[in-house]
């Protein structure tokens, strides 16, 4: 079973690496996603589509394989052996953070404290970019939590493999390609609304371009809430839902009252993941950034190309700190509200019991 999980993990990493644009572009390696991005930037969508065709085929195939093979064993107890693997997991996490975050930034750190200029640049030009990205990433995270909740409530007892496969394809296709698709859909949508006239025309004129980017983040990472919702349901004893079914509760009631309260930690985790990933997303941001607003990742990417690494360092720290603070506050609010809800329910029951007696 471990071999299967390792193979699925390796396939997922390969899938994501084959669609990566950010690292390959920065390191000036001409990969397929870079080629697709350039073709689209030059206004040649047909060439981009032909270039992307083999990759899309591969992604689709891998998504189907992953959806069929990587599903956890429903017979296996949830988190079996987790305590034994805990130590390794922590070391792997530390190594990942060191390799992906600390090491690259350490290179820029030396020059960052040499003067006030990098910090000034980061605060003057970078802060608005951070604000744009935080707003859009938060919207995408909220949509992701809602998607996960809808999936849990509507189908608490069923697998949603086709939906998961579709989410995986959206996650793995090159971002530029997804952005081009959304741009075209947005254009068709606008034209459709214009032809409707009246309220439709008004909506078409006033719908902000940032809505499309927020939606794009959500679509790109929709796999995460779907996957985590599935994990939470698979880890749930079926008897919990069957007891509710025997009592005469409908599927929606079972989803809402039994499955959702037990899955909310997974859904919040999915929201946090989507938030962090959307904050650093580049290809889609670059294509769909609304006029006059530069998302954080685009600003950082441009600064790195110009060589202003100290400013990149300063803003990256600021972004990391903001993300950690926001996620910490969200987690605190969630745990407090859960405690408050229970306390409130107990208080209400106590009050009612007093009144009855």
């Amino acid at each position: 079973m471990a071999k299967g999980e390792l193979a699925a993990g390796a396939l997922l990493v390969f899938l994501l690496a084959s669609g990566d644009f950010t690292v390959s572009s920065l390191l000036l390696v001409r990969t397929l996603p870079v080629e697709i991005h350039d073709q689209l930037a030059l206004g040649r969508p047909a060439s981009a589509a032909w270039t992307a065709l083999p990759l899309l085929g591969f992604v689709l195939l891998a998504a189907i394989v992953l959806a069929r093979r990587a599903a956890p064993d429903p017979e296996a107890p949830a988190y079996a052996g987790a305590s034994r693997r805990g130590g390794w997991a922590h070391w792997m996490l530390l190594a990942g953070v060191a390799l992906g975050f600390v090491a690259p930034l350490a290179g820029c750190a030396a020059g960052a404290f040499g003067g006030i200029e990098p910090a000034r640049l980061a605060l003057s030009a970078g802060l608005p970019a951070l604000a744009v990205s935080v707003r859009l990433a938060a919207a995408a995270a909220l949509l992701a939590v809602l998607l996960g909740a809808v999936r849990v409530v509507c189908w608490p007892e069923q697998s949603a493999a086709p939906l998961r496969a579709a989410g995986l394809v959206l996650l793995a296709v090159p971002g530029a390609f997804l952005a081009a698709g959304l741009l075209m859909s947005g254009q068709f949508g606008r034209e459709g609304l214009e032809t409707l006239g009246g309220a439709g025309g008004s909506l078409s004129r006033h719908a902000p371009a940032s809505v499309l980017l927020g939606l794009a983040y959500f679509l790109r990472f929709a796999y995460l809430p779907l996957r985590l919702a599935e994990e939470s349901l698979r880890g749930m004893d079926p008897v919990l839902l069957e007891s509710a079914e025997l009592a005469g509760h409908s599927r929606t009631s079972r989803g809402l009252s039994i499955a959702l309260p037990l899955a909310w930690r997974h859904l919040l985790a999915a929201g946090a993941l989507v938030f962090v990933l959307a904050l650093g997303e580049l290809p889609v941001s670059q294509h769909l950034a609304p006029a006059g607003a530069t998302p954080l990742s685009v600003w950082l990417f441009a600064e790195q190309h110009y060589g202003y690494t100290e400013a990149v360092f300063a803003l990256s720290l600021l972004a990391g700190g903001s993300a950690a603070l926001l996620l910490g506050l969200a987690g605190l609010a969630a745990s407090t509200s859960a405690g408050t809800a229970r306390f409130g329910a107990s208080g209400w029951r106590f009050f009612r019991a007093r009144r009855v007696s």
């Binding site: 069957e242 007891s243 025997l246 009592a247 509760h249 309260p261 009855v356």
Partner: protein, 239 residues
């Protein structure tokens, strides 16, 4: 109370290597009686209870509750409409609901309303000695209290038939006697029809008037104490 009639039930389980667990099980349970069901591990006891509850459909045969067709390969009355209480082997308590919350949630789907609902809930809390524990979460209950809560929850929805799948497993000594006594008293007072799956003679003796034994997918010929019941012809269980 309810009358149960199972005729020629057959069921195959498993996805890759399918195995016939039940191969034509027929028996009848009289209204108000309790039947003990025993058999080796894997003999299909739990599968049989799940078929009766409507959680699975039979491959062959039919189940009638009070003369009304409940299950056949072509027809499955939804579990929620059968008025069956089921105590699962693993109990399956809802970890996010407290004791009162368990009963409230079941009662929310029952036809009982207002004062009648509150009275029924109070009766259950009293009968199963859960009154002082109603704010406790399942994780805060002892083993015996968890079993009592699972049984009280199964009975909350105005059930006509109670299915008990090894509900006393893991309990020992005086604790088991206490739970057994509580269930037996409640069942007798309401004349509830019940089926108890168990390997333990003391449990079967305490709760059941009749016994059935599952062997190789069939109801085995009666032995020992069962023989008298079948011999008399008026027993609660009739294969």
């Amino acid at each position: 109370m309810s009358e149960l009639d199972c005729q020629g039930l057959a069921k195959t389980v498993g996805e890759s290597d399918r195995a016939a667990v039940l191969r034509g099980v027929s028996f009848h349970v009289r209204a108000g009686s309790c039947v003990g069901l025993s058999g080796a591990t894997g003999s299909g006891k739990t599968t049989l209870l799940r078929l009766i509850a409507g959680l699975e459909a039979p491959d062959r045969g039919e189940i009638r509750i009070d003369g009304r067709l409940a299950s056949s390969p072509a027809w499955l009355l939804p579990p929620g409409q059968r008025r069956i209480g089921f105590v699962f082997q693993g109990l399956g308590l809802w970890p996010h609901l407290d004791v009162a919350g368990h009963l409230d949630y079941v009662l929310a789907a029952s036809p009982l309303k207002g004062q009648a609902r509150a009275r029924h809930k109070d009766d259950l809390l009293e009968a199963f000695r859960l009154r002082d524990l109603r704010r406790r979460m399942p994780a805060e209950l002892s083993g015996g209290e968890k079993h009592l809560l699972a049984i009280a929850r199964a009975l909350a929805g105005e059930v006509r038939l109670l299915l008990l799948d090894e509900p006393f497993a893991g309990l020992d000594g005086s604790l088991k006697s206490r739970v057994l006594e509580t269930v037996a008293r409640y069942r007798r007072a309401r004349g509830l029809t019940a089926i108890l799956v168990s390997h333990q003679t003391d449990e079967l003796n305490a709760l059941c008037e009749e016994r059935l034994h599952l062997r190789e997918g069939h109801i085995a010929p009666p032995l020992g104490r069962q023989a008298s019941a079948y011999g008399e012809g008026g027993g609660g269980a009739r294969p």
